[in-house]
């Protein structure tokens, strides 16, 4: 999980995940300070919400022994960070700041205190607006325009009904969110595993499927174009691929064409190939 392994980290696992959860920010420090402040200065109700619950969680699900000997057995280590969602960090920091501001006399003191606290959070945090506000999306679907164009052309070529297509990994991940009439030859988890992910599994695939998809991925990701073209074409046929979509600039274009796939259309920087039955 995020490069942290329970077996290797042992009892330090919880701390490492906590630090990773907080990222390279001061949010964790602000949270702990907020809890301390509310423990010392808070009313009973505030101590109940912000302190009692944090202490309860510290002794239970954040207890390193419980994690190592119980959660580990339940197979929940990879998603352990989700337990930190239970800790109301955002609320606690916000509430503590509000209480500090409220403790000032009304007027310029409150504004100054609020501005100072906000500045501490901003400068110590990692802003989602670091790159500025997002510009308006390409279209109402918030998908690349070239994807929409490719899908339209594929339907023109293939006609009605479902069609099995090989897409490059970036399109493979998003195309069915736009148009589920395309059946994907490449399984999402297979693509992610091929790209190095260790958080997904290809257990649902047969060995033959893994072998065929690996060969296809080897070519379309331009990882290794030394594969025998007949092998590549055989894998396409085994997986019942009907079309392949590649970027026009891909080094795999000439390979795929030489292997026997027929280029049918070029659209918005992509070439659509038809896989013929040989």
């Amino acid at each position: 999980m995020g490069g942290i392994n329970l077996n290797e980290s042992g009892l330090d696992f919880v701390r490492q995940v906590f630090v990773t959860f907080g990222g390279n920010t001061t949010v964790l420090t602000l949270f702990l300070l907020s809890v301390l402040y509310l423990a010392l200065k808070g009313k009973k109700e505030e101590r109940y919400v912000f302190v009692t619950t944090a202490v309860f969680l510290a002794f239970t699900v954040y207890n390193p022994f419980a994690v190592k000997y119980i959660l580990g057995k339940l197979g929940m280590v990879n998603v352990y960070y989700r337990f930190f969602w239970i800790l109301p960090m955002v609320l606690t920091i916000g509430y503590a700041c509000t209480k500090v501001v409220g403790g000032q006399k009304k007027g310029w003191r409150r504004y100054l205190t609020a501005a100072a606290l906000a500045a501490v959070i901003c400068f110590g945090g990692n802003s989602v607006l670091a790159g500025g506000l997002p510009k308006l999306p390409d279209n109402q679907y918030k998908m690349p325009d070239d994807l929409l164009a490719v899908c339209t052309v594929l339907h023109e070529e293939a006609g009605e009904g479902t069609v099995r297509v090989v897409f490059e990994p970036d399109f493979n991940l998003i195309v069915r969110q736009y148009d589920a009439s395309f059946e994907l030859v490449l399984d999402r988890d297979m693509v992610l595993t091929y790209q190095g992910s260790n958080t997904v599994s290809t257990d649902a695939l047969t060995e033959q499927e893994i072998e065929d998809e690996t060969k296809i991925l080897q070519i379309i990701t331009q990882m290794d174009l030394s594969l025998d073209q007949k092998e590549f074409y055989r894998s396409l046929r085994e997986m019942n691929a009907e079309y392949i979509v590649l970027s026009s600039s891909s080094a795999a274009v000439s390979y795929v064409e030489t292997a026997g796939c027929i280029p049918v259309r070029e659209v918005e920087g992509h070439i659509i190939f038809r896989v013929e039955e040989k």
Binding site: G2, T20, G22, G23, N24, V27, E45, Y48, V49, T52, F56, T60, L74, Y81, F84, W85, I86, P88, M89, V90, L91, I93, G94, Y95, C97, T98, V101, G102, A114, L117, A118, I121, G124, G125, N126, V128, L129, A130, L133, P134, K135, P137, Q140, Y141, K142, M143, T162, L173, I174, R176, Q177, D179, A180, S181, F182, E183, L184, D187, R188, L192
Partner: protein, 355 residues
């Protein structure tokens, strides 16, 4: 053009439905009226609680999506009409009070509106397609729609499934979104990545507002609280944080879990501590457990822990040992689902897809 009209209509329509469903939890003679935000939140929980109860049996029995959509539309219509008829007095009172809402608002209120407005724009405009989980959450919606089925096809590839994916089987959030798409004619990407992302932001801040109202003496400070929460959310961008899920992955059930459900459980725990809501709070805990599962299977681990964190200290503090049974009932839905999940991943239990 029609899409541009349908989008706000769906957004406001959903809020209105939540309001109507939530009104069944409010009693004018026993509860302070005027808690519109709380009513919307109760209604949100009731919506997904009911959807889970109706959709899971239909899914297991192989019902088509269009049938689920009609059934759900009928159920919601009946409840909305009932709410309007039974609570006309309350609606009239809220209508009268709404005119005075804008009076006397401080600078903090307007700063809050700007900050939340920035977040709403951000989630609506963000075109980020690198999330592998979106291939499931949004892919499931389009798959359900394209095949007129409920979770019977692999969202990643479109292949027909022989067994339901045990990792997601009880999470009907994609099916609920598919129903919305079916009823409104809007594309899944518009519903999930624009409308529901914005809805998640609005409901999240509604929860925080309720917590603030319950704790802060000076009511105008609630706006200050929401301002600070906004600042933290905008600056807590890490790979795993709830703020990141809120602003970059709001269409996922996990985002709703960590930004609405879990804070809402804290709110319920606080109300229990303050002796508000009476026995109704137990019903809300139970319904939240079921609604949480409907949204995401991640709830099966986190929600029982969160409930324990807010309930058990209450029971110990007030020595209400007799209510331990109610506590066990509240966590039961999630624990049962966890049990089914563990049996499923070990290959002991599989639920076949009926066609």
């Amino acid at each position: 053009m029609i899409t541009l009209l349908k989008m706000p209509a769906l957004f406001l329509g959903m809020l209105a439905v939540f309001c109507c469903l939530g009104s069944f939890f409010i009693r004018e003679n026993r509860y302070e009226s005027g808690h519109l935000g709380e009513t919307v939140l109760f209604g949100f929980i009731a919506y997904y609680f009911l959807f889970e109860l109706i959709s899971v049996p239909m899914m297991v029995l192989g019902a088509k999506l269009h049938l689920l959509a009609w059934v759900w539309a009928a159920v919601v219509a009946v409840l909305v009409i009932a709410s309007i008829c039974l609570h006309l007095g309350m609606w009239r009172e809220w209508g009268k009070r709404s005119g005075g809402f804008w009076r006397g608002k401080t600078a903090a209120f307007y700063v809050m509106l700007v900050l939340i407005g920035i977040q709403l724009y951000f989630v609506a405009a963000l075109q980020e397609n690198g999330s592998a989980d979106a291939a499931y959450y949004v892919g499931s919606v389009t798959t359900n729609l394209a095949t007129d089925s409920i979770s019977s096809f692999d969202p990643y590839t479109g292949k027909a499934l022989d067994f339901f994916n045990i990792r997601y089987v009880f999470s009907m959030y994609p099916a609920a979104n598919a129903v919305l798409c079916r009823l409104t004619g809007l594309h899944p990407l518009v519903v999930t990545k624009v409308i529901l992302c914005m809805m998640t932001v609005v409901l999240s801040y509604l929860v925080y507002a309720q917590i603030g109202k319950a704790l802060l003496k000076e009511k105008q400070m609630v706006w200050v609280l929401l301002c600070f929460i906004s600042v933290v959310n905008l600056n807590f961008h890490t790979i795993f944080s709830n703020a990141s899920f809120l602003l970059t992955r709001g269409y996922e059930g996990k985002a709703v879990l960590c930004n609405i459900i879990l804070p809402f459980l804290f709110y319920l725990g606080l109300r229990m501590y303050q002796e508000k809501n009476g026995k109704r709070v137990w019903l809300l805990f139970f319904m939240t457990g079921v609604a949480a599962i409907d949204l995401t299977m991640s709830s099966m681990m986190t929600v029982p822990v969160a409930m324990s964190a807010v309930i058990l200290p209450n029971l110990v503090r007030k020595k209400r040992w007799g209510q331990s049974g109610l506590y066990l009932l509240a966590v039961l839905p999630c624990v049962l689902v966890l049990g089914v999940y563990l049996l499923g991943v070990r290959g002991i239990l599989q639920i076949p897809v009926v066609r």
